[in-house]
Symmetry: C2
Subunit: 192 residues, 2 copies
């Protein structure tokens, strides 16, 4: 994109993607209309179609945004020297975000779950993002010397997804706190 185009857009594209991520998360993909996203981004409804020809393209952009957020979270965990410290750092982040989990669940898990029932090919793109998290966790468990790193990585991510669903269902942030502590103890117990 040239400078002039970037200036002309005034960051509308970015605003639309941010709004899409937020509104999809809060209302669900299926319930969200293009008008909802336009309003949240403060962009006239008809103008959305200049940037995204279909709702599916907006969903795709939202998945890409989640991928970048995950990359940043994983990169930030690098300041911890040990793999167990990095695994626990992500857990601490999840616990810190518990109030929004109470309201809407896991930002990516709920999206992934919904896309699976949508029929278009977007579920594959969502799976690739989830794969990045699982593979990262597997590398951490492997660095801890665990031969069953693959299985542990799945259990780690599943525990987070599951407790997010229950935290949301029961509207109880305490569930995330208790399970986060339990998972951290579990990781400590695996250190050889």
């Amino acid at each position: 994109m040239t400078d002039s185009q970037a200036k002309a857009g005034s960051g509308k594209r970015e605003r639309l993607v941010e709004a899409a991520v937020r509104v999809f998360y809060q209302q669900g993909v299926e319930k969200t209309t293009i008008a909802d996203i336009a309003r949240a981004a403060d962009v006239p409804v008809g103008n959305v179609y200049y940037y995204f020809k279909t709702k599916d393209q907006l969903i795709e952009a939202a998945i890409g945004s989640h991928a970048r957020i995950l990359d940043a979270v994983i990169a930030a965990s690098d300041r911890h020297e040990t793999p167990s410290g990095r695994l626990k750092a992500l857990i601490a982040g999840w616990v810190a975000d518990r109030e929004q989990t109470v309201r809407y669940g896991c930002p990516f898990g709920t999206l992934s779950s919904e896309l699976d029932k949508r029929g278009d090919g977007l579920d594959t793109a969502a799976a690739e993002v989830m794969r990045v998290l699982v593979d990262w966790a597997e590398r951490q468990f492997a660095a801890m010397g665990r031969a069953d790193a693959k299985e542990l990585a799945i259990a780690y991510v599943a525990a987070y997804q599951g407790i997010s669903l229950l935290t949301n269902t029961f509207r109880d942030p305490g569930l995330m706190v208790a399970e986060g502590a339990r998972l951290s103890r579990w990781i400590d117990s695996l250190v050889s």
Copy 2:
């Protein structure tokens, strides 16, 4: 309901509820239309409204159906003498159902997750059903002499919900098999 009314209905109400449970599970609540359910139940579209005045009432009936299924699953576990045997029996059932989990996720978890973003009050009804499962699990862990039965019950259900989401996202039944085995070993390790 009198006999004559039951006869006149020819079980249409029951067929509609069964169809609703199935189609909501496979397509998601939001994507499913009244016409979809009518077709699946082999009932004329307009006739649905004689039994259920709104889509919400159909959802409510579907939640009730899930509650009855859960009651039956829990009752069936009673043939196992030990609490750990009962907890493992449910896990075995989840593993046995892995192929449908690969396609559509956990029948009740996906519903609960979706209802939470719907705005109406149905999420509360879903939470009550989930509560039945958690409370049952808590009683089993308590019978095993665990003081932290409440926390373990949450972890148990969360593990199932989480692995269901990942099994569905990655379309890999093997994930459910491996995690089921891991959870069973975990429960054995808790037996005093």
